[in-house]
């Protein structure tokens, strides 16, 4: 942080103070996502069992909740041993184990070394807490995605409440569901009536004033809300299917959100770094990342997929579904670092006296280019952070960063390199593991694998059925437009043959109709 001019920053005790504004920044970034841009990521998640996220979505909406260990009810071994599942006194003694095993089979999710109760009714997550530390999202993510509301800076409380009502109501429960609830209440010794409410959820995470955090990707939030609303208003779905579909909308959107964010951040940062390195490079392309519409976003069509037919099909390393997964994965790994850089860079720019709340890399670069002094202070601040971040690392790591700074590389890329050096081992946990946890395997996800390391994008029939409903809703759209809409979500068939396969699968699902217009045309229409 030395130059011929008066220094922009004074450094003391690990903090840099801007000489003009007097505002401080912490130089050493201890790890990834410590500077969290809350309009992009409401928490610092790590990969975990997705069903637990769902549990907390509901539990966080309950005001007065108990904290009884689930183990007391479901036991600690398959079959319910050790819990009241196998000790229900209403059941003849010789059949209690069988009854417990049935309840266990129907209501307990078995994970790797963990087992937990499926929250099919609000009373369960309201009374019981699952065992162990949980690292992914809590209910805050639902509130986060439910804003802005129809373009207004408020939460879509009506949508959250409609979603909660699915779990609050009791009339569509089957006999076994009801019996389990009786047992759960008896075990918890609680006869309180539990209800989840949107207000409780929002105030729990965003305070009594319900201050919205803002959204770096508002269109993704709006599409999530639209899609959840679509599912919740389908009159033909029974309670079980409605819950299953709502859960899946949530998982798929959350995974897509991660992928979209990773893709665009990396894209934007690359363009901005190029523009900051060479001032003749315009920022137009970078502006399209977060500023464009849904269809023209660079993310559109970046997930090349093949259609899962239920049969085993060979996969080649050169398939678009494989290569695009790899590129997505590369960006996903970089996302925690890119996000941290964005958070830190906003802080540096704010310390320089420029309002940077909600700023993208382009906004920051614009501000740096507009005023040479601001630009220089911004660069110095970021470079100072980069240097401090690697201070405790080996000499080689420090030398790498110093060399980059001396070579005149932009502070944004220097800081990212520094963060990658300190957080490399955590990259996977904060990005890829979350996406995998949400959508890997099964007909409802869109990532498949062969062996241990070959991953690729594959959209199965169940997900296709859901996506078709979300896109066409109660109308029908030409097949070509349907494909364009899929592209907006990020999905694109990996080849022309796959496009045909997509049409064939839709036909097999009774979702394709033919009407003639100027030429013969296929329309996608949903029976849900």
């Amino acid at each position: 942080m030395s130059s011929s001019h008066e220094p922009y920053w004074t450094i003391a005790d690990g903090y840099a103070t801007h000489t003009g504004t007097g505002r401080q920044i912490k130089l050493m970034q201890p790890g990834l996502l410590t500077q969290l841009p809350e309009d992009a990521m409401p928490a610092r998640p790590r990969g975990d069992q997705k069903e637990r996220t769902f549990n907390l979505l509901i539990r966080d909406g309950v005001n007065e909740r108990l904290s009884i260990k689930e183990k007391k009810l479901i036991g600690d071994a398959p079959g319910g041993a050790g819990g009241t599942f196998v000790r229900d006194e209403r059941i003849p003694e010789e059949l209690r184990d069988v009854f417990g095993a049935i309840l266990d089979d129907h209501y307990v999710i078995e994970g790797i070394k963990v087992r937990f109760l499926f929250p099919f009714h609000v009373a369960l997550p309201a009374m019981y807490e699952f065992h162990g530390r949980y690292k992914m999202f809590n209910g805050k993510i639902l509130a986060f995605l439910s804003q802005p509301n129809d373009g207004e800076a408020t939460f879509n409380t009506a949508l959250i409440q409609r979603f909660y009502n699915l779990f609050n109501e009791q009339q569509d429960l089957n006999l076994l569901d009801k019996e389990l609830l009786v047992l759960a209440r008896n075990t918890a010794e609680s006869d309180a009536i539990y209800e989840a409410s949107a207000t409780t959820l929002i105030t729990r995470h965003y305070g009594e004033e319900m201050q919205v955090p803002g959204a770096l990707l508002p269109l993704a939030h709006e599409r999530f809300q639209r899609d959840l609303e679509t599912i919740l208003t389908i009159p033909r779905l029974n309670r079980r299917d409605k819950i299953t579909s709502a859960i899946n909308v949530f998982y798929v959107h959350l995974a897509l959100y991660f992928q979209r964010l990773a893709w665009l951040l990396d894209e934007e940062l690359a363009h901005v770094v190029a523009a900051l390195t060479d001032r003749t490079v315009p920022l137009d392309r970078a502006s399209g990342c977060f500023g464009g519409d849904w269809g023209s976003s660079p993310f559109a069509g970046s997930i090349l997929f093949r259609v899962g037919t239920g049969r085993t099909m060979p996969v080649k390393l050169t398939d678009g579904a494989v290569t695009s997964y790899r590129e997505q994965n590369r960006r996903q790994l970089l996302m925690p670092a890119n996000l941290s850089v964005l958070g830190a860079a906003r802080e540096v720019m704010a310390a320089c006296g420029i309002d940077s709340s909600g700023a993208t890399f382009v906004d920051l670069a614009d501000a740096a280019r507009a005023n040479p002094a601001t630009g220089a202070a911004f660069e110095e601040g970021l470079n100072g952070m980069a240097t401090a971040t690697v201070e405790a690392l080996s000499g080689q790591d420090r030398a790498d960063i110093e060399r980059q700074i001396e070579a005149g590389a932009p502070g944004l890329s220097n800081l990212r390199e520094a963060l990658l050096k300190v957080g490399r081992t955590a990259l996977r946990r904060h990005g890829r593991d979350i996406v995998h946890g949400l959508v890997l395997r099964g007909g409802r996800g869109y990532i498949s694998r062969r062996g241990r390391s070959l991953f690729f994008f594959e959209v199965g029939q169940d997900l296709l059925l859901l996506l078709a409903k979300l896109i066409v809703r109660d109308s029908q759209v030409p097949f070509r437009r349907f494909v364009e809409e899929l592209r907006c979500y990020g999905f694109e068939p990996q080849s022309r043959a796959e496009l045909d396969q997509l049409a064939e699968t839709l036909r097999a699902l009774n979702l394709l109709e033919k009407h003639s217009d100027a030429g013969e045309a296929m329309y996608v229409k949903h029976f849900l």
């Binding site: 049935i102 003639s516 217009d517």
Partner: protein, 788 residues
Amino acid sequence: MRSSETLVAGEIYSRSQLREQFGVADATINTGIFQPPDHDSVWLFVTREKESDMTPHTDRLEGDTLYWQGQTASRKDFLIVEHEERGLELLVFYRESKRQYADFGFRYEGPFVYRRHSGSHPTNFVLVRARAFGTAAAAGEGRSGARTEPPPPVSSAAPCLVDVLGGLQQSSQESVVAQGALTQLQQKMHVKDAIEDWIAERIQGWRESEGTRPLLVVLSGNAGDGKSDLIERLRAHPGVQGADLDVIADATHAESPSQSQADRLVRALDPFASVPRYPRDKAPCVVLAINVGMVIAFFASLEGTPDEPRFTELQQVLHSRLGLSREDVLQPDGWDADVINLDHRNVLAGTGGGIFAGMLERLDPEAEGSITYDAARACASCAVRASCWVRTNLSILRVDAVRESLRDLLWDVSLAEDVHLTPRNLWDFLYTAITGGAKIDASTFLSCDWMREALPTQPGALTGELLGVIHRRLLYQSIFEPPAEEAQARGAILDGLGSADPIRFSGRATHIAEGRVRADPREDEAELGRLASEADEPFADGRRPDPLLLALASLTYTLDMWRGDNDSNGRDLACGVVRRARVTASPSALYEEVSDMSTQEFRRLLEAYGEWRRPDEPAPTEVEDFWTNSLIQGVKAIFGLSVGGQTYFRLDTLSPTTRYPAYVQVDLPDQLRIDPDPLQDGRASALEALNYVPRSLSASVRSGGQEPWPVPVDLQLYRLLRKVVRGYSASSVDLQAFFRLRYACERLGNAGAAEEIVFRAVASGETYRVRREARLTGTVTTFGAVAT
């Protein structure tokens, strides 16, 4: 008035000059072919060397002959071909290049006459200078105002039968009805049906009621359904024409280059907007021909425009009437609408056999005024008649049993293969079935000339190769498979018929008959002779059996011809036995074996179902029987699980169960319903006029949601259910084709609040039950093992 009266041959005229001289305001003068208003003239503007912005047609004037390509869309070709019948002169304005003359002018070459044409989109025309052709249309004579005489025929021969039939092809110009111009062939092809009168009466009734509400009549349907044809018939219908009638014959067409299709429709449909922009003195009747896709595209194009809210109500009405949305929208207050979807017209049903029967009548070579009558008369004296399969096929088509059987087969195709039958694709099918297709082989086109050259006058002189060519093109063969190895695209109907080929479904009797004929072709002599007698035709001294079929019968003795090197003729002859049985209903033992009884049963069921109009009316017995004996029993057998003599259905819970799947009893008659065809409600009269017969039964399955799942029962599902109730065990592969049924029925267990759930332990096979029971002390839940 004729334009040639005021034009001077050899002079240079620019378009602007012509515009001024003739007071033309129409922008289409800028196109290559233009008909000035109130003139009996068509102006052709021809430029030999095209600029980059011009359509690259190949046009040239060589002496008195103009080689000229029409418009790509071929919309105005009829004006050229029929200019003489229509009393129009063709005036040619020609230039070598765009800049050859000042002001982009053209040299006026004078009147030309049509000589011939070939190809399509664009059509290649040959026109000759009228003077050179020696007709009264020559420049000087033309000015006298005398009507142009037709040129002498190119050939003095009668029209060629193959050429006449060529007009029936889907790719022919005759398959598209041009606005205001029905050709002679189209007049002959027309088969009247009741919908024409129904619409005419509707318009007359609207007019007589002197109502002030605008009336919208929408003619919808797929390409080839006959919308344009119907419009032209309506135009000519007494009592329909009037100043208050707006006809939009082609919704995909704009009226000027600057206008889009949507602009035109917005203007035309203005009376039905919530806030009309163009007030009228009198409420109009708008007749609009528009296909379903265009309806969707039109309203999609309005999204986000100021017109979108104005047409919301219209969109709701049209979408609901066309089955594009679920809402049942009531008639709006300010206007009336009738949506006639020609997709619902059943071309096989109706008085006298419906449109298809009428089409066969139009093809009858012995019916005066028919399409083939003139050409077929010439066949009587044709030297190769005894080898001509085209004329023979026409004769076979006259046999009542063949007609009836063909109708049955088309029903099969329409129901089993989901092929939509339209007048256009039926004509195309008939063309291919009669001729065997436009090509003999990769490089030879079928024509009467080719037949006269290639076929022998005596069938006895046929080579084995020619015998194969002929036999594979006889109707009973050609409707089931392509006559040539190199498969050509034969259209949906013939592809569908291919899968109805009796050879595929042959049984014991069929195999025996086939084997016998293969071993000894003479076994088939009597059957061929019988068909020859049925397909007889007039002769000087009365009627005689069909000469080609008779010749084939006699040729069965020439074993070498049938057996040959690769035995293909022998195989064809043997196949022909069963295929003839399917088409001609004989011999009866074979016919029974190759007939698809389930199709006939299903047709009867559909016909009965179509009579059921309202849910509060008792259902027809056939429908009741199907519901109880096939639908309920079939669903029970496919999706149910038998426990202790009772049928249970899978109850899915939210987590995937693997060890103790749950099942509940379901009151199937309550959850599985059949409702009257939703189309029948309220619009019965138009549907009657269309001879509408439902293609499927409207069943529904309740599985716990607020609304039931609609599950149409079509022929394929009907067949599966029938098989299942007879003991067939449906596999998951069988169910792949019925995704909607599977989706709904797999959820039957969630249909209601069951008071009992049974669990089957996958590992041990033991069954347990949780049940709510009424006791003296109140209702209790019990759990126990079930003895199975």
